[in-house]
Every structure is written in structure tokens, then in C-alpha cells.
């Protein structure tokens, strides 16, 4: 399963998309950056409402396959710059975190 497949299933918009062929190995849902820093796995998607620049750094150092932003906050310019520098995929979806996580859970389960 690739980031591109998730983007299509969630009807998500690519905010930064340096590597949509990146393999997805799991998913982590949290708005605590400290928690993501401590517990997310390499290759996981990360669902969050945060849009500030630290999000791009956390995603880079944790090797997150794509950040999925829910909610209506605009993504800050610093975040876009950092994400482009570090090759971080950021997608935005109109779905709630619950709906997005549910769809992704089923996709990962079906992919075996």
C-alpha cells in the first residue's frame, strides 16, 4: 500500500507530495507531538490537526510516510518549506480523524 492509495481513498489533497509512492506500514493518530516522537513507527501515516512547522520536523525524524491533516486550519508557510526541504508528504482531508483512521485501518487490514 502506497501513500497515493491512501490519498485517493481519503479524497485527500496533496499539500506537499515529494514521494507518493512511499510504502505505508501503519498509522498513528495523535495531536501530542511528544507522543508521536516517542511511539510512532517508521513508515506510519500520522493523522493530526496541527499545522505548524514542528509537524514537518517530527515527521522527518520519525520517518513518517505521510502526515494527514484533518480540520480546517491552514498549513503554515514554514511547515511547507520544512516539509519540502525534508521530503515530507503532507495530505489534507475533509474527513474527520475518526473517519480517516477507520478507512486506513481497513486498507491496512485488507492489504494483509
Amino acid at each position: 500500500m502506497k501513500v497515493r492509495d491512501v490519498m485517493e481513498a481519503l479524497r485527500a489533497e496533496p499539500i506537499t507530495a515529494p514521494d507518493l509512492d512511499r510504502r505505508v506500514t501503519g498509522c498513528y493518530v495523535s495531536d501530542m507531538l511528544s507522543d508521536v516522537m516517542a511511539s510512532s513507527e517508521e513508515g506510519a501515516l500520522w493523522i493530526t490537526q496541527h499545522t505548524h512547522a514542528n509537524v514537518a520536523v517530527v515527521a522527518a525524524v520519525k520517518d513518517i510516510s505521510a502526515v494527514i491533516i484533518t480540520g480546517r486550519k491552514p498549513v503554515e508557510d514554514d511547515t511547507l518549506r520544512k516539509a519540502r526541504e525534508e521530503g515530507v508528504n503532507i495530505l489534507r482531508t475533509g474527513l474527520s480523524a475518526f473517519e480517516a483512521a477507520g478507512l486506513i485501518y481497513n486498507m491496512i487490514k485488507d492489504a494483509g
Binding site: S34, D35, N54, V57, V61, K62, E86
Partner: protein
Amino acid sequence: MGHSGEAPVGVIEGYFSLRGGDFSDSGAAATKLRSELGRLPGISGATVRRAAIAAFEAEMNVIIHALAGTLTYKVEDGRLIIRVNDMGPGIKDIALAMTEGYTTAPDWARAKGWGNGQGLPNIERNSDGFRLDTVVGEGTALEITIDLYKDGRCGGES
């Protein structure tokens, strides 16, 4: 704002200045370190990740808690040494600060998703050496060591 000194080719070292409350360039040290280590032959992705996680947590600690500080890193004999020194409040009770879930982070940091009481334990978990020296009212010095080839060399290099 962080900035880095220029090191000679082949040498991995960096110097960054950090200012309390300034999120604008936070992560500069961790991302630079990550890209430099990633070019080392035979290093594993997991080791690069451990180093970047430790460096970023340490940067954020200074930005969240201190007035100002510095972060330097250097690779020597297959080991990475990260030193972080800050002018900050110091840590009154190190054992408490090392407890998962304990935090003194201010509200503005929590609003950005930090301050869950996981930073120092996460640094220690990702390090091979971890030394904390602190003086209340003066500041904190943290030295992190990471063995870059603990799991052996991987890839084409033997």
C-alpha cells in the same frame, strides 16, 4: 534562529544556537544531523533515526524551557556526541524529570502538542550514553552519546 558552522568535507560536526520560545527554526540541528549521518556508509536507518530523535527532543527542551542555549554535535571514532547547554531554570529533581508523564512545560508549548512529559525519557531511550548536569537557576548541560555501528554495518560497506 539556529545557524551552523561550516565543517571540512568528510567531518561531521555542527554548532547551533537556540533561543527560548523561538520555534521558527526549531529542528534545524536534528534535520542537518539526520542528512549528514544518512550519507555515512554502512549506517542503519534505525541509528540515524535514534540520533535525529534525540537531537530534536533536546532542541525542543531548550526552546521550551530555557532562555537560550547551544547544541553541538560531532562524530568521532564511530560515535556521535551531542552536547546541549542552556541558560535555563535547571532541573530541581532529575528523577522526577525522567519520569514519563511529568512535565513543567508552559501552556504555549502544550498548545503546540509538546509537554507530555516524554522528552527526556525519549532521549535516554534512543541514546547509548546519557549524562545530565544541572544547576537550579543557572542551566542544564546534557551529553548524549550514540554508537553509530552498534548493530554492525549494513549496506555495501564491509
